[in-house]
Structures are given as structure tokens and as C-alpha cells.
Amino acid sequence: MRGYLAWDDAHLEDSLDPEFRYTQAYKDSSGLSPAARELKCLEIFLPASVAPPREGDLLAGRRMFRPLGVAPSYWDDDTDGLDNVSFYADLGRLERVMNRPSQTPENREKIAGLIDFWKTENVNAKVRAKFDDEMKREMPSDLWAQDSGVIFGLYRLVFSQLDYDKLVRLGLPGLRAEVSARMADETLSEDQRDFLQALCSLTDLMTAILGLYEQQFRRALEDGADPARIRPVLDSLGRLQTGAPACFRDALQLVWVYSAMTGGRDFGRMDVYLGDLYARDLDSGALTEEAAIELLLSFYRLMKETDSRDGRIIMGGLGRRNPENADRVSLAIMKAGIRFRELKPEFSLRMYKGLSEEVIGLAMEMLGDGMTYPLLFNDEASIRAVEKTMHVSPREAEQYGFFGCGEYVLGHRSIGTPNDIINLAKALEVTLHSGTDPVRGCPHGLNLGAPESFDTFEKLLDAYRRQVEYFTAIAARHQRLVYDTVRENGAMLLMSLLMDDCVERAKPLVGGGVRYLAGTYETYGNTTVSDSLLAIRQLVYEQKLLSLRELVDILDADFEGHEDLRMKLLHCPKFGNDDPDADAMARAVNTHVFETTARQAQAQGLSSYLVVMINNGANVDLGRNTLATADGRHAYTYLSNGNNPMAGMDHNGLPALLRSIASTRMDLTAGTAQNLKLSADLFRKHPDVVRDLIDTAFDMGILSLNISVMDRGEMEDAMLHPELHQNLFVRVGGFSARFVTLDKGTQADMLSRALY
């Protein structure tokens, strides 16, 4: 899997001209403001990313990412898979192009020059160069999937939900007029004027990009493409250069091009911004549902073939200005999704009491079909949680959006990118090893004493907490440092134009523009820690079966020769079974990290800084560098995932599981996603039971449900015969995946989780 679709190395071998011009423009504009400099670079980078249409495209907007550019996050698995923010440089790709055997020596030298320049000029590198001593010591590596450590930094501005509703209402000319009007304000500072001027030029650049796509399609027409397919695209591109979208097709077209150029992956409340034009076109007879579905399918294809991550579409929910029209287009959006039957887009439904049963019914059909979509959100509870944690009014909270596995943001009003992750099990591990990382064999974290010094459980718990607090403070500083460095180097113009209140304040996104500059913090191994602490309390401190030192030694040896003790540890109560002790410990561990995290916001000048308990595959990667844990887990195996029990440890039935989950203070987080695996049989034979289950889970306050419908037998067979199960989709948490493409560790993790 690669991040964005990029030109391949062979293509780039003799077409790195834009990179050279881009670099020159960057150097030449060093005296300009960050906004003006970014614009100069975009003017080269964006047109060079325009790619020709493919047969069957009903919408324009294919783009290829280049090894140098500006993006909220660029990543390339062929290089290192890590996110790169703002001015990025895919040095790995440049090196591969440079080292191609057919490369000329002159070119090689020129590319080496590029690499040398961008090695320190890319924003990721600039962030790292500004690390303070503690960060240098505790965050030596960014390779969170490979290296051992308690915390890791990520570098990105992901998942912002731009105001596509405004884009559709105003179009590019309307946006330009709005910015121009704002420039009439004589009290603006030079910087502010400079920024607004860059935004104006940006609308011109985007208009020019539409012109480039128009040329591409005209060429296709000349090359013999079907005029019935091409002419409507040309007409639409023409209209959009001079006005706002006039029909459903225009709206889809403009949103796609804007999103593709931004490198955005989230489409926000699509039902709202498409609903009115869809209903009008349908009622006037200008559009049929079938034609709309065809256009949506083309949109989904572009999405799938441009970028491998996310692609969230939100439907439903309170706070829509046009619920009826929005519901009508939701049906078309989902019908196209059922026909598309791919991992993207990530359909999500905000379910509230009173949402159209027709919409819910189609969503259930989609889930029952094994598509893992839509993700279901408990709308009322989510609004309450957002209101409380983000300190906003109920009206603003209604405009919440989410990304990945359910991390909340405020649609086009907040940035909440998760830029740091913590392995809580590792935090306990370094605490038990006097401030060293036993895997790397070097100092890591605080030395709070040897195991012998923790003569009461409370002392141990206190030490673990101090360790988490220490690392969390560093992580929060890292989050801030990323924002500051982005601000110093660029303006994120494409995002700024469609995020409140950048135009109004005449300030770039993270330079005081966005209304809420927030952050989030991904925690992993939460349940591994709470189950471990409870086992330690019971066996070491209450039953006094062995000393803490003896236990640590046994864990270091991965239980070798102590299988009996491992059994005893496994038999201690575990989260996920409605057990009061296990749930209380989980609540204590979770609430501690939630509150510790939230406290960092003020120090870092963020509107909020919150935990997201998400469940992607990071629990598997982080587990690979974590020794055995006192819950009975073997060394180097997966950790617990999100707000879930340790895989296979919930054996008290679904109601007990949901009660445990609901006991977590989810209302103190920016989202906790809950995976639920239901059998295909249950969906097929008992749809009413599924609905009762969802309604009850939401009544209990569970914020969201990621439902996978599956068959354990099919998963087992898919591990043996992957070629026969290409269509088996599973929800990993933050994303859905084809089961057969997951690594064996993740497959085993999924298989060991309970299926109901």
C-alpha cells in the first residue's frame, strides 16, 4: 500500500523538471512571507500533479503526487511509511530515482543536490531539529512500527474537514470575491494582507487547474473518446471557472478537484452539501437516481485510485439545515457504495432518534452485506461528549465530524490531528525497570526506583502514573512544535481558504486562523496495563505469591519455566466481562491518562488536547517491542486495542462486554471506537436483534460502533487460501481492510477477538 498515488520512479527519471523549478522557486522566495512562498511553490507543484483522465471517468481530477510538495500529510510506504507534513520531501523516492541504472551522471548529481537541500529543509526535519533535550532523549526515533519506545511523534495535519458546503455554495469565484472583500479592511496588517492576497491568487490557481483538466478532457475528445461522456465534463469544468456549482455534477466535480489538490481525505457532511442540488436536479428531471449513482461511482473510483487512506463520508446527524434533501442523497450515496463494494469511501452514519428509517435500513443492508460500513455514531452522546471536552456550545458541537477510527473534530472549525502515540504497556515496563527500556537496553523515562522500592501497590501505581504524565507532557510539546514549525514555514493555503475563521481573521490555519487549534493523542495497550496492574495487585500485593522483583524477572524471561504462574495471571479478572475489579482498574488507568492529557492543553496553548482510543493495527506493531506483561500476555505479541478487552479475554457474553466498555469515561476523550464482530448468521437470521443491540449500546452511552459481519470459518480459511477470499473485508479499527492483505499478526489478533 502506498500513500498517495504517485508518479512511479521510471516516469520520474526523466521528468523531475518540476522538482528543480519548485526547489528554485522555494529558494528564490526565502524573503517572502510563508504564505507567499507556499503559493509560489504551489503554482509549480499543483499543475505538475495534474494527470490525464482514464477511460470511463465521468469526473475530472486525477492527480499524481510528486516527491516534493506541500500537503497536510504525505506518506510513501516504499520509503518509510511515515507521515510528512507541509513542505515534504520524499527523499527515499528521490534516491531511488537517482540510483536507477539508466540515470545519467549529470542528472544524478542534480538529484543529489535536491536531496542534500531538502534533507534539512523539509518540515519534518525542521521539527526534529528543534527538539529540546527531553524530546531528543525520549523520542529518538520516529519509526513507531519498528523501534522500541514509550512515545512516538507523528508529523501531519490530517483529517481536517474543509467547508465543502461553502465551496459548493460560492464556487471559486465566490470565494475569491469573499477574500477580496475582506482585503478592503484598512486595518489589516501587512502580513494579513499578504496572506489574503495569497488566498486570492490561490483561487486563480485553482481556476487554472480546472482549465488544465478541461484541456485534458478536450484532448481525450479529440482522441476519440465518447462525446456523450466527455461533453458534460467539459461543460461542468467551464461553468466552474466562472461561477458556483449549478447542479449535482458540478458540486461533485468541484469538491473532488479541490480535495485532490489539497491532499484531503475527508469529505465531511456530504449529504448536507450535495443534498439540495441533488433534490433539485432530481425533481426537475435533470438527473435520475441512476445517473447520480454513476457520478458517485466515478467519484469513488477517483478516491480509491488517488489515495490509499481514509476517504470519510459522513451522513445523518443533528444540525443539518436540509435533513430531507440530505437523506435523499444519502440513499444514492449508499446505493453507489453497495455497488462499488470497495474499502473506500468510509461511509459513516450519525444515528439519532428520528433519523429516517429508510436511511437506517439501507445502512443495515450495507453492513449485513459484509462491507464493514457504515460506521455508526451515537449522535446524541457524541454531541454531548464534544460539547464537554472541546468546550463548545451544543450548536457548534452538532457540527462534529470525525476521522480514522472516530476521533472528533469540529467540521471546518478545528484541527485535531493525532500527532503523538503512547504505548502505555511500555510506560509500565520502563517503570518496572528503573527507567530503562529493557528492549533497547538504554535509559528511557523516569527512574522512580527499583521494584523492591514499591512496597505497596499504591506506590507502584503512583510511579506508573508519574511515568505516563512525564511522557504525555513531552508528547504535548511535540504536538505544539509541529504546529509552530508548520506556521513558520507555510500557510497551508488550500486548507486555510475553507476553514473557519482564517479569512475572517486574515490569518493562516495554524497561525491563529483556525477557530480551534486542538490536538489528540493516541493511546495503546490501555487494557493490557489495567489487566496487568490488577493481576500484580492480586498476586503480588494481596496474595503475596511472589515479589514484584521475581515477577519482573519472570516477565523478562517471557514466563519460561513459569507456565503455572502465567496461568494464574491469566485467570485474574479481565476487562470486558463486567467484572467490578477489572472494570474499576481499567477506569482508573483510562481516566488518569484522559485527564493527564487534557491538562496539557493550556500549557501548550491548544483549545483541547485529548486522548483518542482508536483501534488500528498499531497495537500489533507496538506489541512487537514490548516484553511479556503481567496480564499473562507473551512478549512481542499484540497489545490490547482501543477500548477493547484483551483479545480473547471477554468470555462473559456480549451484554457484559458492552457494560464493561460503557464503564469507560468515553465522554473525556475525543472519541473511542468500538469494534464489534457479528456473525453473518446473526445479521441474516435476526436483523431485529442487530438493531436492538445497536440501540441498546447507544442507550448505554457507547459513542460509536464499527461493525464487521463475518464468519470465523471464512477467516480461518482465508489464512490458508487467501486467493479465494479477496472479498473478505474486516474492520481493523481506523480503517477497513481486505483480510488477506493484513499481516499474520493482525490476522491472528482479529481471529482471537470474540465473534458474537
Binding site: 496461568m567 457474553g653 456480549l654 451484554p655 457484559a656 436483534v689 436492538d692 443491540l693 440501540d695 458474537y756
Partner: protein
């Protein structure tokens, strides 16, 4: 009053409508050879051993006062009194006692947390074993559940005194009524009792207005006969308020429990999917009501 309960299973979705909590009663007047809950046949508590955990250390043998456990932990169910000495002794936690004495209040307390899931559609299903072996307990529990507004279904073999059924009838919203074999002698051969009382109770419940779903477990080589299928069809004709026939193909999950009880495997074979589809079609042609799986 206490009853002997082997299990309380939340989120049961195949034994009545909606989300249900299943209460498994211990003790059964029949001894069906294919029984998939063999631990519920005997009335009193008894030990079970998990082979995957048993290390064969023999600690249980020293602890057992009745000699029910062999030198390597082998189980002789017939000598087990369910005293629990092996459970306390076992270092590997391989032993457990099936069957706990509980009051109706105890059972209710276990059910109540699941109440939000019932949503007026689901509820509690009394099953086992044969709940009617503990009819007095059923009556008390059912009355408590009614007070809580929780609906009750009962899965029954039908083998209990008619007056006991009459007493519980007002509390039971749905009977999942087993119909194992049509031929009385065959019934006696495979289950230990003939089906005269069962048939009579079925008619009585039907005539009293009870909601009834007929549950037909079909075991290859035992009751997958034209004659039995025709018998099922005739029942649905004769007793028109039977709402549905549930076709339950034999499955071998009971063998796992038989091993834990120290019993040999039951020796039946699981039918192929195609065979089951054939049964369903045949039954559909003979029955007046839907035949579901």
C-alpha cells in the same frame, strides 16, 4: 427455595425472539443419546474436567472422597457427588462444578443487568435440561420476571405432569416444544421414555391457547425418516396454532461436554448441508407452517 442451574447465558438469540438470556436447568426425565447438554441430564451438581487444562497430575484423585477421579484425573461421572473437592485441589483450574443451587432471586439478579437489551422483544428463555423438572422454581422465577415486565419463553421436552404445565402456563409467553420422534417405541428406545405424555401435554397447551413453536432435532440415522417427518406435518395440521417448526440439525458440540464428563462420544454424525436442505424442503411440503432453521 433453590433450583439447580448449570448456566446463565446472556445474548441468546436462537431460542425465542429478540435478545434473550438463557437459564439452563439441571435435570431431565429423558436421556436422549444425542443430548447436546449432557451435563444437564442428571439432577444434582457434578464435576467436569477441561482436558485442555488438565495436566494429569492426579491431585484431584487424592482429594476426591468418592473415588470418582483416576490417578491421572480420569473422570467417573457415576461416582461423582459434585462435592467440589477436586475444584479446590486442582492446581491448573481444570475442574469445575456444573450445577449451582440458586434462589429465584439469585437468578433474577443475574438477569436484570441484561434487561436493557430485551427492548420489549427479547426476554428470558428457560431451558436445560428440563425446566419442568423444577416446576416450583420455574413458577417462582416466572412470577418475579413478570413483575419486572420481562417476557419468558420455555424450551421443554414436554415430559412433565400436565398440572405442572397448567400452573406455569399463564407465565410463559412462548413454548419451544421439542418433538423428537413420532413413533412411541422408537422414542422410548432413543430417549428412555415414550411420547404419550409429551403428545398429551402438547395438545393440552395448544388447546389452552399457548404460543407454540415446534422444535425438531433431526439426527441422521435416528429420526430422519419419512414417517417422522410426516408425523411432524400431521401435528401442524392437527394443532393449527403451532406457529412454526424449527428444524435443528444434529451438531456434535455435546461431545466436547461428554469428554469433560468422562463419557464416550455419542457416535452420531453431523449431516451435510445438502442433506439438511433436503430435510427442510421435505418438511416444508408436509407442514402447514413455516419450517425455519
Amino acid at each position: 427455595m433453590t433450583g439447580i442451574i448449570t448456566d446463565i447465558l446472556p445474548f441468546s438469540v436462537n431460542d425465542g425472539p429478540g435478545i434473550r438470556t438463557g437459564i439452563f436447568f439441571k435435570g431431565c426425565p429423558l436421556s436422549c443419546r444425542w443430548c447436546h447438554n449432557p451435563e444437564t441430564q442428571r439432577p444434582g451438581p457434578q464435576a467436569m474436567v477441561l482436558p485442555s487444562r488438565c495436566t494429569g497430575c492426579g491431585t484431584c484423585a487424592s482429594a476426591c472422597p468418592t473415588g470418582a477421579r483416576g490417578a491421572h484425573g480420569e473422570m467417573d461421572s457415576s461416582r461423582c457427588t459434585g462435592c467440589g473437592a477436586c475444584v479446590s485441589a486442582c492446581p491448573a483450574k481444570a475442574c469445575r462444578i456444573s450445577g449451582t443451587a440458586m434462589t429465584p432471586g439469585d437468578v433474577l439478579a443475574r438477569i436484570l443487568p441484561d434487561k436493557p437489551f430485551f427492548r420489549g422483544r427479547g426476554g428470558v428463555t428457560l431451558t436445560g435440561g428440563e425446566p419442568m423438572e423444577q416446576a416450583g422454581f420455574v413458577l417462582e422465577l416466572a412470577a418475579l420476571l413478570r413483575e419486572e415486565g420481562i417476557g419468558v419463553a420455555m424450551e421443554t421436552s414436554g415430559c412433565a405432569p400436565a398440572e405442572a404445565f397448567r400452573a406455569v402456563l399463564p407465565y410463559i409467553g412462548l413454548f419451544l416444544y421439542d418433538w423428537k420422534m413420532t413413533d412411541p417405541e422408537q422414542h422410548r428406545f432413543w430417549t428412555g421414555r415414550d411420547n404419550a405424555l409429551i403428545r398429551k401435554n402438547l395438545e393440552m397447551l395448544h388447546d389452552s391457547g399457548a404460543e407454540i413453536v415446534l422444535r425438531c432435532l433431526i439426527v441422521p440415522g435416528v429420526n430422519d425418516t419419512r414417517e417422522h417427518f410426516r408425523g411432524i406435518g400431521e401435528l401442524t395440521q392437527d394443532l393449527p396454532r403451532i406457529r412454526r417448526v424449527d428444524l435443528l440439525p444434529y451438531h456434535a458440540l455435546g461431545n466436547n461436554k461428554r469428554t469433560q464428563l468422562g463419557l464416550p462420544a455419542d457416535g452420531f454424525s453431523v449431516p451435510e448441508e445438502e442433506t439438511v436442505r433436503g430435510w427442510q424442503e421435505e418438511l416444508r411440503s408436509l407442514c402447514r407452517v413455516p419450517v425455519c432453521r
